[in-house]
Symmetry: C2
Subunit: 108 residues, 2 copies
Amino acid sequence: MSYFERHIFFCLNERESGKNSCAQHDAQAGFDHCKSRVRELGLADVGGVRVNKAGCLHRCAGGPVAVVYPDAIWYSYVDNSDIDEIVDKHLKNGQVVERLVLPDDVGL
Amino acid sequence: MSYFERHIFFCLNERESGKNSCAQHDAQAGFDHCKSRVRELGLADVGGVRVNKAGCLHRCAGGPVAVVYPDAIWYSYVDNSDIDEIVDKHLKNGQVVERLVLPDDVGL
């Protein structure tokens, strides 16, 4: 069994090259909103949900991105309503939010 | 299928409280060594291994810690030989390094 039932990692990286990166797309705000909502819903706990900062997740072209483990589902989000949907459907209930899933061919 | 076959996250966090945290135990060196070795072995690729920086993983008492997903296996390591064993056995070959696994009751 996983220590956290679902563990989401948000890339907060900024690339010095000026190429597309998550930090340019306000990834910090997405992380902050996710963390707050997970706490509000009482999901943040061992055996529950953990919202984590991460460095570059190597899929910068799709930024801002986040990945949910152990499910290994990758998301690209735009605003707080996207984050709310990921929290309410996936992190809380295990339903993948298909419309936000990052296509397999999106990399650096 | 997981975008990365194995995705390891190293906590690099330092707690301001002075309580035990991964950064106090040279987590940066563990991360750097793992990243180098994975590259040397040619494992770093889509469909392969990704070595990632992370913020606090919420299991500070066992620091320095790292977690391998999607396997959801948590490790506490001491030195580069521990990292080598995690890379060679687990990241490359999928064998869990039992002697380094973090006990379930180790938290903050």
